[in-house]
């Protein structure tokens, strides 16, 4: 990165700790709290200055508590930065779709197996072809499932429970999902006809862009105790799904962003960026958005669940065993674009807050009542996907995260190169070849997509995870390396 960037970024921030940098409250007029960016010196040197501006913008919103935060994988977004986290007081704060994004409850789920690398390598090519065939991917892809409006309501309200009731998956899949795959309070009457039209044909579709399916193997265990609790061991095959709420979520955000843009004016909230449109948390406008957003969040969990179900079917066919016998259990599923009503300790007082996580993962402390019983003492699995061809990580939450980051950690590697530059500078076919030499096979609907999502366009996932580990907001349990990747 250029010297110019180093000087400008380092001059404006105050170093609090090795990996904590403060955006001073006087950095921008109207800031109500300081900003906190959790990065190493090196990661800061490659951070765009506009990302700091976005952290500061969020700090101007009413009712923000403690800090406007950015995780180690932070980069330029719209409204909030990607990697942005902020908590707003339930009574005096706001709710903003700009703190969630269009892809509501984009997230990742990790499935373990009892297969080993050697079982899968010889069949990898066929397995990937069959997965690519079974799971709709790419722009405009449609699902095999067509749900009625009544079923869609059921999905919006009941989330993953709908799927299990309808023959997709098993009960343990519900338990091992963040919020049990269903946040109460979703109200389908707040979802437009347009969002319904987009949602009906897309259940169980991957989409495009950075979304992926990945066949991986556990290459390293850092924490035997936690790995054992998560059912992970060295050499084991795992499967990861990264996608969100598809058109339904995009449309819900689009619809309510328009309403909240007007509401910001009505409630005289000064916005440094129009994409931060918001309204007082208890206003009808904010509550309508929140209840619709929860519908999309529940839909997204069903989307990943259905993809998991079809993946199990493909594995069953390939290995001629039932998925139960293949040990294909859900390890965990985490949302990384969401706003949630949570209780946190703020200045020694239990406070209800709307935590916005935009490109950030929940990481609740061990013992938290919201964690599934099997993980309650060990801590929440925090799943951090790498970029295509690089390592993904599983971490365990700590009690420190509650103090430092409102129970949040990073969500991925974080981009450093634009799609435009990637397509100009990188050749999809060449990257496919390079990955293949490393033993990683890629299936993608377009070669250009491989270039846009190439390892080079992302920060190093290990560097990002190391910062999280050193900060102590989550600690490393296992490293997963890719063998096969499916991109939309």
């Amino acid at each position: 990165m250029s010297e110019e960037n180093e000087s400008s970024v380092f001059n404006v921030l105050k170093r609090i700790d090795d990996n904590i940098w403060e955006v001073p409250i006087d950095y921008m007029p109207g800031m109500r709290v300081p900003g906190r960016i959790f990065v190493s010196e090196h990661l800061l040197s490659i951070l765009e200055k506009e990302t700091i501006d976005q952290v500061a913008n969020v700090a101007t919103l009413p009712g923000i508590l403690k800090y406007s935060m950015a995780m180690p994988d932070a980069h330029l977004g719209y409204g909030f930065s990607i990697g942005g986290v902020a908590a707003f007081d339930k009574e005096t704060g706001v709710i903003s779709p700009g703190g969630v994004g269009f892809d509501i409850n984009c997230g990742v789920r990790l499935i373990r197996t009892n297969l080993s690398e050697n079982d899968v390598r010889p069949k990898l090519s066929t397995l990937l072809d069959d997965l690519f065939e079974a799971i709709p991917t790419g722009v405009g892809s449609k699902s095999r499932i067509r749900v009625s409006d009544a079923e869609l309501d059921d999905i919006f309200v009941n989330g993953v429970q709908w799927a299990v009731d309808n023959g997709y998956g098993v009960k343990a899949d519900v338990d091992n999902c963040e919020s049990a795959g269903k946040i109460p309070g979703a109200d389908p009457s707040k979802v437009s006809i347009k969002a319904r039209k987009r949602g009906r044909p897309q259940l169980g579709t991957l989409g495009s862009g950075n979304h992926f399916l990945e066949v991986q193997y556990v290459d390293k265990i850092y924490d035997e105790e936690a790995a054992s609790a998560f059912g992970l061991r060295e050499g084991q095959i795992t499967f990861m799904i990264h996608c969100g709420s598809r058109g339904a979520g995009h449309q819900i955000c689009t619809d309510h962003l328009q309403v909240l843009t007007q509401a910001s004016r009505k409630y005289n909230i000064t916005l440094p960026d129009k994409q931060l449109a918001c309204a007082p948390a208890q206003s009808p406008e904010a509550q309508d958005y929140f209840k619709a957003m929860l519908c999309a969040a529940n839909y997204a969990w069903v989307n990943r669940h259905v993809i998991m179900h079809w993946t199990r079917e493909v594995f069953e066919k390939t290995f001629a065993e039932e998925f139960g016998d293949l040990g294909m259990d859900l390890v965990y599923d985490v949302a990384h674009n969401i706003a949630k009503l949570e209780e946190h300790d703020v200045d020694g007082r239990k406070t209800e807050v709307y935590v916005h996580r935009k490109g950030a993962t929940r990481a609740f402390a061990p013992g938290h009542p919201d964690l599934p019983e099997v993980y309650r003492t060990i801590g929440q699995p925090v799943i951090i996907p790498g970029s295509m061809g690089t390592a993904s990580y599983v971490l365990r939450s700590t009690k420190e995260s509650m103090d430092i980051s409102f129970g949040s950690a990073c969500h991925g590697a974080g981009r450093v190169m634009s799609r435009k530059s990637a397509k100009r500078d990188l050749q999809g076919e060449q990257i496919r070849e390079e990955l293949s030499l490393k033993g990683i096979q890629v299936r993608a609907s377009q070669p250009s997509l491989i270039a846009e999502e190439a390892p080079e366009v992302y920060k190093s996932s290990s560097e990002v995870v190391d910062v999280v580990h050193e900060l102590g907001i989550a600690t490393k349990v296992a490293r997963l390396l890719p063998m096969g990747v499916i991109k939309g």
């Binding site: 765009e48 980069h75 330029l76 977004g77 719209y78 409204g79 990607i82 994004g101 269009f102 892809d103 790419g138 722009v139 405009g140 449609k142 347009k194 039209k197 987009r198 989409g207 495009s208 862009g209 058109g247 995009h250 449309q251 955000c253 689009t254 962003l257 328009q258 843009t261 007007q262 960026d273 129009k274 994409q275 449109a277 981009r415 450093v416 190169m417 634009s418 799609r419 435009k420 530059s421 609907s445 377009q446 250009s448 997509l449 846009e452 939309g488």
Partner: protein, 143 residues
């Protein structure tokens, strides 16, 4: 590159500037720029036309609505567009109105070359500016 629009650097999303001699034309070219993120529009024939009429409080929300509406029709009707015609754009004390047509054909995966899926239009860094000889729109779409 087309002189109707140009892409700008943005780490995660697609940002562009569109140009036009009139407000109508710059709205047409903004839609065209967004659609070119998703698809090589030169692979699309102009067989089907969809009429689009929108009302908004102001010009920026009209632009947001316009880009959002095209994405909606694309996804729900499986139509890809290669041509946008804004017949009329009005602004008065009641707000802004747009009367337009989007022209294209049904998705054909063997013929159309897709790029990056655009999830949504955004207000981030949105500009609608009069400049010498016409108008410029800057917009960022979520990809």
């Amino acid at each position: 590159m087309d002189n109707r629009f140009e892409y700008l650097e943005h780490t995660a999303d697609a940002k562009f500037r569109a140009y036009g001699k009139s407000l109508e034309e710059v709205f047409e070219n903004a839609a065209f720029a967004m659609f070119n993120v998703m698809i090589d529009t030169s692979t699309v024939s102009t067989k089907i036309s969809r009429e689009i009429e929108l009302n908004s409080e102001d010009m920026e929300s009209l632009l947001f609505n316009w880009l959002s509406e095209i994405l909606f029709v694309f996804e729900v009707e499986s139509i890809v567009f290669a041509k946008f015609i804004v017949d009329k754009l009005e602004q008065d004390e009641d707000g802004c109105r747009l009367f337009a047509r989007a022209v294209g054909e049904e998705i054909n995966l063997s013929k159309h070359k897709f790029g990056t899926e655009v999830k949504a239009a955004t207000y981030n860094g949105m500009m609608i500016e009069k400049m010498s000889g016409g108008w410029m729109i800057q917009a960022t779409v979520d990809t």
